[in-house]
């Protein structure tokens, strides 16, 4: 590592403002009002929360004003949550990898979804494994595919971008050939669709909207587990440590390589779980599940970045990523009702772009104004 390299902590990028785990703003004495405003302007988390509320309120207003082609209500909001499940989970996978620093990034998540999905298709759909077994096995397979990245990056010293780009291509191919590019949709697989049906919550059921089952079965557990992993377990500490300054981490006696490698394993395992989610959503194991269209990796990274994860490593919070995902999903859902025809899907692009740039600029400019960057 060059002693003058970019990795030197305290670089002049807004990502470096201590909005990340666990440190908060610097030692500045000021009034309560000032602190609140400052939090809004400089902390991605607060900004995102406000934006989410804003979107929902505006949509409800438009709905009330009869400007929407259908009512934007809590039922719709929760029904579309199912779209958030894979994206959010993969964004969390990226969080773990990106926080590990040294240009950490995982382009292969989409291909892992495809390949692990095909494995799940075989195991549950053709070999007749039990659901729990097949599910667990798929997660393991995902983890192993991620481990390949981990070894390449942490032990062999490949740049993460290269390693995961290579596996992205390789897994993509493998997923296509394992079943001669045919999807697997045997009866057991089709039966899985119930997993993404909406269900009524126990007890409070009648009073709150129906929520897609998948949200409880996959998303919430993943969110909780990842949150525990990065901010409550020892591993989280090593993760943020190596992401912040891996030379110091080495001197502090941390196992830098192991920690970094595991970040990719975790990312792979989450992708494996996402594979099960998509198979159940599509009631079919598709060889291009994670690579169709623009693929899943870039959107996931986009959400992570929007959620305030600093690609320079060491900074990023689960809450930020989740908020970012909610923001995008609920905004997109609203746009589909607000705009008719082809243009809807196009406007979604515009909205996402504007939010990304806007939020980043706002946080960036203001945090400098507040003299946070060293």
């Amino acid at each position: 590592m060059s002693p003058t390299g970019n990795e030197r902590p305290g670089q002049a990028t807004s990502d470096r403002t201590p909005t990340g785990e666990p440190a908060s703003a610097g030692p500045h004495a000021e009034g309560v009002g000032g602190r609140v405003l400052r939090a809004l302007l400089t902390q991605r988390l607060v900004l995102l929360a406000v934006l989410v509320v804003l979107v929902v309120v505006v949509m409800f207003a438009l709905d009330a004003a009869g400007r929407l082609s259908a009512s934007y209500n809590f039922d719709y909001m929760s029904a579309v949550l199912i779209n958030a499940v894979p994206l959010t989970m993969l964004a969390l996978a990226e969080l773990v990898v990106i926080v590990s620093g040294r240009g950490g990034i995982d382009l292969s998540v989409g291909s892992i979804v495809s390949l692990a999905g095909m494995f799940f298709g075989f195991a549950y759909g053709l070999w007749g494994w039990s659901l729990p077994l097949a599910l667990a096995a798929t997660v393991v397979v995902g983890g192993l595919l991620g481990a390949v990245n981990g070894v390449l990056v942490a032990y062999l010293g490949f740049p993460p971008l290269i390693a995961t780009l290579a596996t992205y291509y390789a897994y993509w191919s493998l997923a296509l050939v394992v079943n001669a590019q045919r999807p697997i949709n045997s009866p057991p697989i089709q039966g899985l669709y119930d997993l993404s049906r909406t269900v009524e919550l126990p007890l409070i059921g009648p009073y709150v909207p129906l929520v897609p089952f998948g949200v409880f079965l996959f998303l919430l557990p993943t969110v909780v587990v990842v949150w525990i992993l990065v901010s409550r377990l020892l591993y989280g500490r090593s993760l943020y440590a190596i992401g912040t300054n891996d030379v110091a981490a080495m001197w502090a006696g941390l196992d830098v390589r192991r920690t970094r490698a595991w970040a990719f394993v975790v990312s792979g395992a989450i992708s494996g779980l996402v594979a099960v989610v998509t198979v159940s959503q599509f009631a079919s194991a598709r060889p291009d599940a994670g690579t169709a269209g623009n693929g899943m990796a870039l959107p996931a990274i986009t959400i992570a970045v929007l959620g305030g994860v600093a690609i320079t490593g060491g900074i990023g919070r689960v809450a930020g990523v989740v908020l970012a995902a909610l923001l995008v999903v609920w905004l997109d859902a609203g746009i589909l009702l607000l705009v008719a025809g082809n243009i809807a899907s196009q406007v979604q692009l515009l909205a996402l772009g504007v939010i990304l740039v806007g939020a980043a600029l706002l946080n960036g400019v203001t945090s400098r104004r507040y003299g946070l960057s060293t």
């Binding site: 590592m1 390299g5 902590p9 666990p22 440190a23 000021e30 500490r237 440590a241 900074i315």
Partner: protein, 513 residues
Amino acid sequence: MHTVAETPLLTLSGVTKRFGGVQAIRHADLTLLPGQVHAIVGENGAGKSTLIKILSGAEQLDDGTITFDGAETHVRGPSGAIDLGIATVYQEAQLFGELTVAENIFVGREIRRRGRVDWVEQNRQVVELLGRLDLPASLATREVSTLSAAEQQQVSIAKALSRDARVLILDEPSAILTQAEIEVLFTAIRRLAEQGVAIIYITHRLDELFSIADVVTVMRDGSTLGTYELAEMDVRRIAELMVGGEILEGRHDREPAGGQPRLALSGLTSAGRFEGIDLTVAAGEVVVLYGLVGSGVAEIASAVYGVEEITGGTLTLEGDSIRPRSPRHARSLGINLLPANRKLGGMFTFQSVAFNISVGNLGVFRRLGAWMDRGRERGVARDLIARLAIKTPDERTPVGSLSGGNAQKVVLARQLVERPAVLLLAEPTQGVDIGAKEEIHLIVSELADAGTAVLVTTSDLGEAIRIADRLVVIREGRVFAEFPARARQSEVLAAAAGQRDDVDGPGSGEVAS
């Protein structure tokens, strides 16, 4: 001391600067005469760096005036300062690892010929420049990333000299230089002063002021207290002005609890770095390895810590032989090390103080297998913040916003979470002000009293003599001489100093890669 012209070259009056909530500089006055070597001292966070950052255009002042050559001026950005003839060597080397030394020296103001960089001419000038600093010409085409920290520091100085400046600002240039290298630097400074260049010299090593500076301006929490002829000052008075009160002097007398060696190195060798090192450290004993940067001191410590590869000899802890494979392994054996380069090897800049303290002993905070006991972490952090008198709003503050001295204490605190059997301290007070230095030395003695075996490696002679129960001089990777406590400076210097042959030697090794 030569005499200096009387018309001020540069005057600062009523300068103030605030960063968000922090009043970095409350009120600063400064008058700089041509050919004068003007020292600025002050505790960490006193405002020295900020003040010179204002002069060098890196920061803009909020209030006050700068007069240059009798005319009031505004320094517009770094290039503005360079145009005025103000050259600065910043505290952290501002070099580019992937570029050669020659390129680094001319970057931003390359010599052009027909639209392209004139490599030959640049190289010629650089070689000549390096000559002035007694540096080998071969350095010119080396990539900076391959140089030792000290060599890099010298390159930045060469860089500053290369601009025929009228004002040369040096922020803690000596912090990582060897005695010999410092001498070379001083010669260069004096030569410049003779030519009428005014020099601003910031340091935490008060003793060296008397051999280089004409006058000293003392800063305390953001204000200049005044400027004094060094002729009428002594270290003690300067120090008292800095901290604003009485400070203790000399070593704290304590009875070294000799007895069984806890750590023993016999014939320890690391090919090309050091060889045949025989050394013992007993529980409760403070042994200091004094050696110039590149002499191998640093490598000995990192070898014991499992970073440097051991190619020969044996290492025993409490009698049984050990061979640390990694810092992780060493710590599991109860051997902790305070890394020399705080910024690179010590601090997790934008993480909290608590994070920085706990990260070295995560095992201690293990609960139910893999959980982080955050309550315990908070407690331990607060406890150590109090014990080491670390100046920070709270344990959640990012360590990057603490001053060097306090940041250093945080990194030290990391080593004390569990009382280590053996504590290795590499350059424990580098770039730390005298107050903090005082406290750190006190902490070290207390640790020893409490039965820890302490091995210190330092290139700061004053420090070495101050805290050593036994002082071992390392030269060219070998044990060269050994002194009891209270050794005489002159003797130790005689043993270690006066050699130039170590500049091209193996890199200082403080920078792990």
